[in-house]
């Protein structure tokens, strides 16, 4: 519980702050664009559907690569840490989905006042599931590289496969390089597939990090 508290308190607050900053930036950019041409898409949708998931992936990497060794150095077991990190990934994804939804509400208000047009965006549930899986994939890949060095490369195609399924429910997020229009492939069962992808990424993280040696850091 102690580890969870630290993760939730510091990282969630940090992530929300970053999101707020990015939102303000997106609004400013929209106003600048509006000076030259008509606004036809939601800037916040670009942020949430494309950029935000990479941020969540990075948080996942940070949690395992940076914080797990520190927790062990402070006398915590990997098991304690992984329990906390698993719970934290859910809380963070929820919080960020909430932030995304809030952003759409505020942006919707601004767009209505300015009489701009926004394109379609995903539901909070879709964002939650996407963030959840990307965060877990970040943890999984970080664990694999930390443990196996360059051999951890095996985690990349696995992570990619797990990550793309989550984009099904979010307009504008299904196109990854080389993989076009995943949503069409999955059809209506994407909720269950996303949850399954999260569980697989989490199980992979546990399997790799459960008895991982803590290497000397070159700080």
């Amino acid at each position: 519980m102690k580890i969870f508290r630290v993760l939730a308190k510091t990282l969630t607050a940090y992530s929300a702050l970053v999101a707020a900053g990015v939102f303000a930036f997106a609004v400013v950019v929209t106003f600048i664009v509006s000076a030259f041409r008509g606004v036809e898409i939601s800037a916040w949708n670009v942020v949430t559907s494309q950029i935000a998931r990479w941020f969540l992936l990075w948080v996942g990497v940070y949690v395992i690569h940076n914080l797990l060794p520190i927790a062990v150095a402070h006398g915590r077991t990997r098991r304690e840490f992984l329990v906390a990190a698993s719970g934290f990934s859910v809380v963070l994804a929820l919080a960020m989905a909430l932030v995304a939804w809030l952003g759409f509400v505020v942006e919707g208000g601004i767009y209505a006042v300015m009489d701009w047009r926004a394109d379609e965006h995903g539901t909070p549930l879709a964002y939650f599931l996407m963030f959840l899986v990307w965060c877990a994939v970040g943890m999984f890949c970080a664990a694999a590289f930390d443990r196996f060095g360059a051999g951890g490369i095996f985690s990349v195609p696995v992570g990619l496969a797990l990550a793309v399924v989550t984009t099904a429910g979010i307009p504008g997020s299904g196109n990854l390089p080389f993989i076009r229009n995943v949503p069409v492939l999955l059809g209506s069962g994407w909720h269950a597939v996303s949850v399954l992808a999260f569980l697989i990424a989490l199980a992979g993280t546990w399997a790799v990090a459960r008895d991982m040696p803590i290497r000397l850091r070159t700080t």
Binding site: K2, I70, A71, V72, H74, G75, R76, R79, I214, T219
Partner: protein, 291 residues
């Protein structure tokens, strides 16, 4: 805290860092872990701290340490660089981790030490000097007040006054809060008087474990006429010999009995003590121990 190591082996790929090592520490003493570079000191301490899964067994107060929350919470190991710190974290943040995650952490003491070592709280760990980073490691280790506290080369880069401040802090805190402290060091001479017991390892194997004072009394330097020295040392464990003209000095390992002392006097040999550091050098020398 009692430490029991039984058949411990640590391997990295084909390299065996610790080779089937067994020993016990009765605890609540300051131990010196001495060994040359690559002898396996860091690997041994990493296994004691649960940093890696041991082959063989590592028990703290009878409990296996690896992934055992109860035992892990009582151990602290700080290796060369501060393990418990991230390059990008401010010093104050590093202390917050300790306060948040360690049950035994003493934050007031941590702040005292930070002031003693003049570590700037608002600076990022990556921007500290080598000496300050080492000092931060010492702060983390001492303020953890862990029943088993291990410091691996923690004086690295510290200047002499800082090292002495460290020795004083270590000693005073040990007396106020007795616990098991294991220190690895190359500055044996400086630290020797603080150690109660010494564990010497070489090539991943235990060379000896002995009370520091007993070990000191085991070594004798025999100086005199070369022929007489040779006669006297025949049958004894000679660690090293040096000759200067007809004079010869031999380092002998092992206690001398009264008969031998009388014989030495008869032969006109001079018997002198050997520093811990010299004993260490010769006990860990490559095969033969002659130079």
């Amino acid at each position: 805290m009692r430490v029991d190591v039984q058949g411990l082996t640590v391997r990295y790929g084909d390299v065996t860092a610790i080779d089937d090592m067994s020993f016990s520490l009765s605890g609540n003493k300051i131990y010196g872990l001495l060994g040359r570079n690559g002898s396996g000191k860091t690997s041994l301490m990493s296994a004691l701290a649960g940093y890696r899964r041991p082959i063989g067994s590592v028990r703290l107060d009878g409990e296996p340490v690896f992934e055992n929350a109860a035992a892990m919470g009582k151990v602290c190991l700080v290796r060369h660089s501060a393990d418990a710190a991230d390059k990008g974290d401010k010093v104050s943040y590093v202390l917050e981790y300790g306060a948040a995650w360690r049950d035994t952490w003493d934050n007031a003491y941590a702040l005292d030490l930070v002031e003693l070592f003049k570590i700037p709280l608002k600076t990022k760990v990556g921007e500290l000097s080598l000496g300050q980073r080492s000092a931060l490691g010492v702060v983390i280790a001492l303020a953890s007040r862990s029943p088993l506290t291990m410091l691996d080369e923690s004086h690295l880069g510290m200047d002499t006054p800082t090292r002495y401040a460290f020795y004083d802090a270590l000693l005073n805190d040990f007396m106020a809060h007795p616990r098991t402290i294991i220190i690895s060091t190359h500055l044996i001479e400086e630290l020797a008087s603080l150690l109660e017991e010494v564990v010497i390892i070489d090539n991943g194997r235990l060379v000896l474990q002995e009370e520091a004072d007993v070990l000191r009394s085991r070594g004798t330097e025999v100086t005199g006429n070369a022929a007489d020295v040779d006669e006297f040392t025949a049958g004894l464990t000679v660690l090293s010999e040096r000759s200067l003209g007809r004079t010869k000095a031999a380092m002998v390992y092992g206690s001398l009995d009264d008969e031998q002392l009388i014989r030495a006097r008869q032969l006109g040999l001079e018997l002198g003590p050997i520093a811990l550091q010299d004993l260490f050098v010769h006990l860990t020398e490559p095969v033969g121990g002659k130079r």
